[in-house]
Subunit: 352 residues, 2 copies
């Protein structure tokens, strides 16, 4: 075999094109193209003929030629902080299901909680010409300038869960303020009076809002949420241990603990138990996310149910609606229902 150009070396089987099909069937490429796209003006019998031949010869549409013409990619970009959390992978599963049903592909990348990686991801997405972009921002993201290129080109950008405010961007969230309120209120109802809240980076809406709800519940109960009762951490498992140490050193220990993440809460709970604190007797605990671990720990962890799958599905539907012009722009955030799930880790009063 003679030396060939770099591209012919790898795939030896020739690709069938609409020209091949056209020639074989003595039709024009245009007719073939229309038939393959189910254009109404094409005779049903012709369509059938073409479809059959295409299948027989293993024709496959060249999406790049198509995209080059149509300027549509049928691909949505997704940027998430991490892929490997139970919540996020559930969101992605929901997204994938809907996107797939509507003929869209997902280009997924993770920022690893870093704004600079997020910027790089955004750039890649932009160059990949995604039709729309779904983002849950990183821990330390300050600005959203890296999405400006999308916005100025009218490529829809939709934030979910960890959202940023922008007049041109939709968002899908849960009511974190209410969830935080519910959690704190529940602890109050169980008789807790010195309640501590462990939260994440307060630049993120999810944590700031939960804290606001927490404070509102306390203030309604006439309790001052002083700064000592709020601890901002990275909500990692390590943080869970540190929190237990911290509590152990406090002169006036809390009798209630609201931690904005189940994994962190569970680690903290175990560390406290090792130090011989009883849960919920000494300290009642509420987590967040309804992660599988929350049902496995003893005692089972009271937590907030977080509709990840539905959030993923909703986000895709919303951005597709925007793409198809079904809805001009979803101004207001779409708010999904979350719910307090009461389990043993917080039940201090009778009734069990």
């Amino acid at each position: 075999m003679p030396a060939t150009s770099p591209y012919t070396e790898r795939n030896m089987e020739k690709e069938i094109t609409i020209y091949d099909l056209a020639k074989i069937l003595a039709l024009s490429p245009a007719t073939v193209s229309r038939a393959l796209n189910d254009h109404p003006a094409i005779n049903v019998k012709t369509k059938a003929l073409i479809a059959e031949k295409a299948a027989e010869l293993g024709y496959r549409s060249n999406t790049f030629a198509s995209h080059l013409r149509t300027r549509k990619t049928n691909t949505l970009g997704v940027i998430v902080p991490r892929l490997n959390s139970n919540f996020m992978s559930t969101v992605l599963a929901g997204m994938e299901e809907v996107a797939n049903n509507f003929g869209y592909n997902l280009l997924i990348s993770q920022s690893l909680e870093s704004e600079s990686k997020e910027q790089a991801n955004a750039k890649t997405m932009f160059n990949s010409r995604v039709d729309g972009l779904l983002v849950s921002v990183a821990y330390d993201t300050e600005s959203i300038d890296h999405f400006a290129a999308f916005i100025s080109r009218n490529i829809p950008v939709l934030f979910f869960d960890r959202v940023m405010e922008h007049p041109q961007c939709g968002s899908v969230v849960i009511d974190n303020e209410q969830a935080g309120y519910d959690a704190a209120r529940h602890l109050l109802d169980e008789g807790c009076r010195r309640i501590m809240h462990v939260t994440g980076d307060l630049r993120r809406n999810v944590y700031a809002d939960r804290m606001d709800g927490f404070k509102r519940a306390l203030s309604e109960a006439g309790i001052e949420a002083d700064s000592a009762s709020i601890l901002s951490t990275d909500l990692s498992q390590d943080a869970g241990k540190s929190i237990a140490d911290h509590i152990d050193q406090m002169p006036a220990k809390p009798d209630g603990l609201f931690i904005a993440n189940d994994l962190c809460a569970v680690t903290c709970m175990q560390a406290l138990q090792e130090k011989s604190y009883t849960i919920p007797g000494d300290i009642a605990i509420v987590g967040f996310n309804n992660d599988p671990v929350s049902q496995v720990i003893t005692p089972q962890l009271t937590t907030i149910f977080y509709p990840g799958y539905q959030m993923g599905k909703t986000a895709i539907m919303a951005i597709l609606a925007q793409l198809n012009g079904t809805k001009p722009l979803i101004q207001d955030p779409i708010i999904l229902r979350s719910a307090l799930i009461i389990r043993r880790s917080s039940k201090r009063l009778g009734d069990s």
Copy 2:
């Protein structure tokens, strides 16, 4: 200016092409293209000039035109049974990291454990012209004909975790047989004599191999692994409960239990505890995967560490090596190390 659509007036930033760049700089498109691709024959100063202007005008390469010419997409397809398991999302996180470093994108889809969905996914991947395909097959996949199109076109297909045998396809796995052996052997060492194994669909290598290892350990110990001691389920959480019911009804109950999935094992364990069995006293339990829940359950669950992140990274490296011709074809499966992690759920003998 000719009549245009109402939208062109405002806000539609025109896409800059290499032709625009060429015209502005009084160069040819060819030079611009070469400069942008860092071709050695181009003057350094020219390159700098072009790069600067490109940045200034917000030029972005049209990957479709590029792909149309080069027949490379820099995209790898990934088909997994489900996105939302701790193991799989960890694998994907590893894949994404490496792929990203090498300038590749990931097109991810889930088969939802169904062969027909897997076939549809494969078709989409094929039409998307992925440069390579990574697959962990569905629960019920019988044939791999749906990957034939890739193989015949020399598009690398690499299986990971749940693999199929094919002379042209590489694979990345752990030594499931050895892991199964280790698990059973450990239970034997702890004094168990009536050991039961709960497994998944035996068409899948991961389950068949673990079972083989299990049987080998038992037979070495002179114990017959009769059919009654092996239970094939879907390894779901519901299955975990059913298993507990089943055991509760057995006349001669097992004193050791090896369940090929942590989530299932944990649910089963909780159900057994509810029935007042003590773990490990009455029944010692070993799971599989080292899922976060395994460290949270009381007593903590002995399990097999499964290097998900590394598996993801390794799989991408292997397929890229094949793509770049660095390695012609990885005939033998790449086997990653797994490890038994002994925790309290299986410690029946002293030493603690």
